[in-house]
Amino acid sequence: MQLIIDKAGKLYKGKVWALRNFSLELGPGVLGLLGPNGAGKTTLMNIIATITRATEGTVTWNGADLQREPDAVRAVLGYLPQDFGVYPNLNAVEFLEYFAAVKGLDAASARRRIDELLQLVNLADVRKRPLGGYSGGMRQRIGIAQALLNDPQLLIVDEPTAGLDPEERVRFRNLLSDLSGDRIVILSTHIVSDVEATATEIALISSGTLVTHAPPEELLRAAEGRVWEWVIPSAELSAAKQRYLISGTVRRADGVHVRLLAESAPAGAVPVAATLEDAYLHCLSTHRAQRAEASAR
């Protein structure tokens, strides 16, 4: 089971490259796709999910070129887009039955699977209600069930926990971890804690290019020794923000506890263990600095 993206690029109207020279090789596991807004994450997922065609480069699934054989991946794909609609007059069972038919599942195993999935996403009690009356979180969960209908070998989920309450978010994280053993899962999100909890590898994208592709431990190691906690009076917070890359602040009785990234510690700051969020910010700021330096040259 292997997904290979080789020098893929996507040019939109107006000559805007959303993705450029992007290469990645994936095997079973959860890939956390991180990057700022407009980095090209959704474009990449749309290309892999065969929603849109790459302008250049190739994407292959188990050796099959998706440009020529898109059904090679569609048959084993589960896709949860960031934005999607539902048919408001259908209930959860009818909606999933429809997609089971579209995905070519036979009736008996589809029925069993739908029952199990509705249990899994905690919608069994409202299975007969029209989707038009579902809340945002419930619609998101029906989308998750839809993505898992065909027992996908490749599961692509774009901001899957958006709109979910904390309990459902935790459940979904666990679900992703359970699923990852024998399939490729691509998880795109801005919620770093979701990636922290599930991802076995991380790909960081910025401005349509791959910044890094590594296990979380490797990213954490790169940030190690560069994260500090510094207690300062509230009045100095603004100046500190100007000077340092700050990943968090907490107000306490003794002042503001600032968590910052810097090559060397400010006076009075103490070193702390890096989190994935620190590592993400460090990696991104290093990349931007390198780009700025390169363009200045």
Binding site: T50, L66, Q67, R74, Y87, F99, R129, P130, N150, D178
Partner: protein, 525 residues
């Protein structure tokens, strides 16, 4: 002043959003097409055996009548989506939180509709000048006489159409496909009434009829008012010409025309009373769900919130699927598509469909039976119109099109479901033909049963909307099966040479168009 500025920007933003879409080019192309048909003589204004000399007054008035007759119909369908777009893009939710009043909003939307329709009128006005210069039979170009009918007749008619479109969008029963069909019949009845009575209608039909007929009667007293026709077709009846110098635009006449602008503003204001300001609790979902046993309030997840442990499957416990061949699933997909099409129809829908089926089979009088049979194929128009456009309407495209064989299995399944619907609703006529041994009639009917879903699918795929099919099909149905215009009767009730062959070939062409359109939208084949 602030309200005026808000109104201007509301209309401006909406207008710019529209004109920057490719569909606006189609709008202008439609207007240009009308102009060409008039130029070529396919559309012409005739008073029995007379027509006017092509001077500025006649050409301007004729083009004005072309615009008020055709654009008030087709243009209505083109602009009746402005509030819907705000709902779909969710811009409406933001607008709803501003101090903007409901009347300002509906007025702004009517203004934007008016601007789009006025752009189409402008194309015809430009074409009128060219037509007069090319024909060169009525003296030099007189801009005031040429343009006055557009300003005083066409623009008020567009204002009315723009406001009515907004009103339809705010009324739950009229905002959907039913409203599109109802508008067609209301428009047809109004056109008939205006032409018959000669009243000061907003379309200007009666207004010009009185004026032109009065002038002609001075030359030929035997001329009758009912001979005033805006002729559409290759046959030209007029063999004589007469000189008509136009309408005398007195203050009283102008006031009579301006009253329609005031009425249009009143309609736009009336629409504000029904506009729910994008309140989701009063939106479509709630309305659609009304009457069902379990009223689906937008709700929190009780199953997860009550604190009680709920037995759930773990991901690892999901039953593995047995993978089977794709081809064997087609019939199941057709059934699923058919279920999706029919979902939400009340028992009364099936009752009417069954009644029409039975009546088209059993009514002894031929004319009555044909009328009932025609109705049997108008009844499912709102179901067919969803074909090919449903994924765009409900934003499920990414889910459906990322499935395997979306092009070579799902698209044919949609079409097959549409054919099943055609056969099952209009089957009475087919069975009757078979029982009578009328094989030609049966084959013509069968060609129609294949043609209608293909027409719906192609238009749905290409337009991404149900409105185009609803408008064109209703018009076609009205001319063909209902009024028996030879060649246009796709049900085969009106004898016409090669009609069956034509509809079979059209089915094929439309199928290819749907396939190519969907293929283009998929990005991948």
């Amino acid at each position: 002043m602030t309200r005026g500025r808000a109104l201007y920007h509301l209309a401006r933003a909406d207008f710019l959003e529209r004109v920057r879409r490719y569909s606006f080019l189609l709008t202008l192309a439609f207007a240009a097409g009308l102009a060409f048909l008039t130029y070529s003589g396919t559309i012409s204004l005739e008073l029995g055996e007379y027509r006017g000399v092509y001077n500025s007054a006649w050409v301007g008035s004729m083009m004005t009548l072309v615009s008020t007759t055709f654009i008030t119909l087709a243009g209505f369908y083109m602009v009746k989506n402005t509030i819907q777009r705000d709902a779909q893009t969710r811009v409406g939710l933001v607008l709803a939180t501003t101090p903007m009043s409901k009347s300002l909003y509906t007025l702004g939307k009517a203004l934007s509709n008016f601007a789009v329709l006025a752009a189409m009128v402008a194309v015809l006005a430009g074409a009128a000048a060219i037509l007069q210069l090319v024909r060169a039979e009525g003296g030099g170009l007189e801009p005031a006489k040429l343009l006055a009918p557009f300003v005083w007749v066409a623009l008020p008619a567009m204002a009315m159409t723009a406001a009515i479109a907004v009103l339809f969008e705010t009324l739950p029963l009229l905002r959907g496909g039913a409203g599109n069909v109802i508008y067609f019949f209301a428009w047809a009845a109004y056109v008939g009434l205006s032409g018959a009575t000669g009243v000061n209608d907003y379309l200007g039909l009666g207004f010009f009829m009185r004026n032109m007929t009065g002038a002609l009667k001075l030359i030929d007293p035997s001329h009758r008012e009912d001979q005033f026709t805006l002729q559409a077709g290759p046959t030209v009846h007029a063999t004589k010409t007469f000189l008509w110098n136009g309408v005398d635009w007195t203050p009283q006449v102008l006031l009579g025309r301006l009253q329609w602008v005031a009425i249009a503003m009143g309609i736009a204001w009336l629409a504000a009373l029904f506009f729910h300001r994008f309140d989701p609790a009063r939106g479509r979902a709630r309305w659609a769900a009304r009457g069902k046993k379990e009223a689906p309030e937008p709700e929190e997840d009780r199953a997860g919130a009550n604190g009680a442990p709920v037995a759930r499957a773990a991901a690892g416990q999901l039953t593995p699927l047995v993978r089977t061949a794709h081809g064997s699933r087609f019939a199941r997909l057709v059934v699923s598509e058919l279920r999706l099409m029919l979902k939400g129809r009340g028992w009364w829908w099936y009752l009417v469909a069954a009644g029409l089926f039975a009546a088209s089979l059993a009514v002894p009088d031929v004319q009555a039976r044909q009328a009932v049979a025609a109705c049997a194929w108008l009844w499912p128009v709102l179901i067919w119109s969803q074909m090919g456009a449903r994924e765009a309407r409900y934003d499920t495209g990414k889910l459906v099109f990322s499935c395997a064989h979306a092009l070579d299995r799902q698209l044919p399944a949609v079409w097959a479901a549409g054919v099943v619907l055609a056969v099952s609703t209009g089957g009475g006529l087919g069975i009757r033909s078979l029982m009578g041994g009328d094989w030609l009639g049966f084959s013509a009917w069968l060609a129609g049963a294949l043609f209608v879903p293909s027409f719906a699918l192609a238009l749905g795929v290409w337009s991404g909307s149900s409105r185009l099919f609803e408008a064109l099909y209703t018009l076609w149905w009205y001319a063909g099966p209902m009024n028996h215009v030879p060649g246009l009767d796709f049900m085969g009730m009106t004898p016409a040479r090669f009609a069956t062959v034509f509809y079979v070939l059209a089915t094929l062409a439309l199928w290819i168009a749907a396939y190519v359109g969907r293929r283009g939208k998929l990005g991948y084949a």
